[in-house]
Symmetry: C2
Subunit: 358 residues, 2 copies
């Protein structure tokens, strides 16, 4: 068997698992942003017909997974495993989604890095021959996260300019050992009016370390996570021998406006070309909302942020042939609801997944 490890932190895939279906669900606010035409479903109301926000988030994740499954042309019986997580205590959204789907399930917690954690694990398990088809996904909800991590929503607490807005969104993908049936993908996304005629595979990925830069302000999540994102990107480039110019797009998860600038600065400090970074580096947290009109302060965040931006927008742009090679680097802040009260700073983590059309 060929070596599947590259360098210290990177794994590469022999069979290049395919992404054969994907879906993004967005909340009301997300559906009014610049990516509104890319969602598979936009909630009219963020309660989604449920009695609690947590149940709404769980339903949103289930909806994204079921839509992705439908678009893949596969049947529930073809699915070997579901891998997902969310921000809620005891990953409540994922646990109850998994109860309802009634499929083998492994729960993950990587804070907002969960989309790439699930995609990377799903790719390894598929490539390793342990599954034919895996559903991967992640979700977040503004109201569930706000009340768990910050203040009661009804309190109407004033937010500092650096605070980020937790996306009400879910994204899911079907990772498969077999190529997508492209006629079906083209039909299912017909609403975009453009055929999706490229297959997308995962060719390698880099597992991140928990990096603590000593940030203690829970309203500075971008700053807390940026060093982890940069550490993972630099390790990825070193392990693979690639330059940043190899990619059409390098996309961090949810660093937001401040974190994105910090990450770009840190990448330049590490010797990467300024123009190269400027031309191909972006952050999902800066793409999901209109910065001024939607009053999101530091930009978007939450597991659902990179999950919906990638599953909804970037993947389809790859399938349409606009982007050939993308490095998705979801970023998570591994703080707990009590760790700051115990004097701990906020560690970050980021996992990178390299995707390409074929």
């Amino acid at each position: 068997m060929a070596e599947k490890k590259l360098g210290k932190q990177t794994v590469k895939f022999e069979k290049c698992p395919y992404i054969i279906g994907a879906a993004a669900v967005g909340g009301k606010k997300e559906g009014e942003g610049p990516l509104k035409s890319w969602f598979d479903m936009i909630l009219e109301d963020d309660m989604f017909g449920e009695k609690t926000w947590e149940k709404a988030e769980s339903k949103m994740l289930k909806e994204a997974m079921q839509t992705a499954l439908q678009k893949s042309g596969k049947d529930k019986k073809d699915i070997d495993l579901v891998l997902s997580g969310d921000l809620l205590n005891q990953i409540m959204s994922s646990s109850f989604m998994a109860r309802d789907l009634h499929l083998p399930f492994l729960g993950l917690y990587g804070a907002c890095s969960t989309m790439t954690e699930s995609l990377l694990l799903g790719s390894m398990l598929t490539d390793g021959g342990f599954a034919h088809n895996i559903i991967v996904g992640a979700s977040s909800h503004f109201c569930t996260a706000e009340r768990q991590f910050r203040m009661p929503v009804e309190h109407g607490n004033q937010r500092p300019p650096s605070a980020q807005w937790t996306a009400t969104a879910a994204g899911a993908m079907i990772v498969s050992e077999q190529r997508a049936d492209l006629d079906r993908v083209g039909t299912a996304d017909g609403f975009l009016g453009v055929a999706l005629h490229k297959n997308v595979t995962v060719d390698c990925g880099t597992i991140g370390k928990v990096i603590d830069a000593g940030i203690r302000d829970a309203n500075q999540m971008g700053a807390a996570m940026a060093p982890a994102a940069v550490d993972t990107i630099l390790n990825h480039l070193e392990d693979t021998g690639r330059s940043i110019e190899y990619y059409d797009l390098v996309l961090t998860g949810d660093l937001g406006y401040i974190g994105k600038d910090i990450a770009a600065d840190l990448l330049m400090d590490a010797g990467l070309d300024r123009e190269g970074i400027k031309q191909r580096y972006d952050d999902c947290g800066t793409m999901l909302y209109y910065r001024e009109e939607q009053d999101v302060h530091g930009g978007g965040s939450g597991c659902g942020c990179s999950a919906c931006v990638f599953s909804g927008n970037i993947l389809k742009r790859m399938q349409r042939g606009e982007l050939d090679r993308v490095l998705l680097v979801s970023t998570g802040a591994m703080l707990s609801t009590i760790s700051p009260f115990q004097g701990e700073s906020i560690p970050g983590i980021a996992h990178a997944v390299s995707l390409s059309v074929c």
Copy 2:
């Protein structure tokens, strides 16, 4: 490549990943129980020299991982990945352990099923060729769990007889593509006075589904988890074509006294032989404490329960040649701290790992 899937939920391993090192750390109470001579370390005080219980739990998990690493004869630089989880919100113990170890990390949440979730994933990733050596583990702490899930510890709340006692314990193992250096294992565990001369491998495992039997009483965790354990065991036997007599020991995670009886009844209802079950089925939650003297009511629970019982006791008994084939089935209750208030019942999950000497 040979088929690595067996039936619906089971994966089998070509290279049979080896467990080349393991360690169990127990709290003060656990160190006074029937397994006291099997722990690698027993805390004199459950604060473990830290200022908070959460920090003590994190340190205990790190201690278990470092001891397992030392006993394996491997170096930190040989480790490709750490897989772990715990019961705390945002898996605080694991996140801060991973920050300190500074190794690639994937966080898991499977409630008390986390030991087999991490062991099963670690075995798949090693067998799949994505890692040479992986540290897997899980932890729990009575005081962190009690105050998060139930009542402030200082409150001295009266516990109903069915309530289980969350173990203050951690267990960790090194999963490797290579056999253990048996001379080293023998030396490191010399305190038992018996040579450990058998290699232990993971030959297959079964990924569980989230099963909800409708239990709503958070003091009846064993009853809530037993149906998931039985579902996984039955699926495992069906997928592998094995009978329960194939195993010397089938060991559930932390069903406790009540849950163990329910699981045994459900297995008999499913047609399994009563004597077969009686002779070879046990539960970690019934093994960790003296039932009467230690006042643990329903028995032990928590991620650390099956983690320390397996890593400390069962694995060494396999290495000594007393047990040849063991099915470890850690069990988790996927309730959240708020889901019962939203009218939800308590779903359970269980993952099974089949281990054998070679």
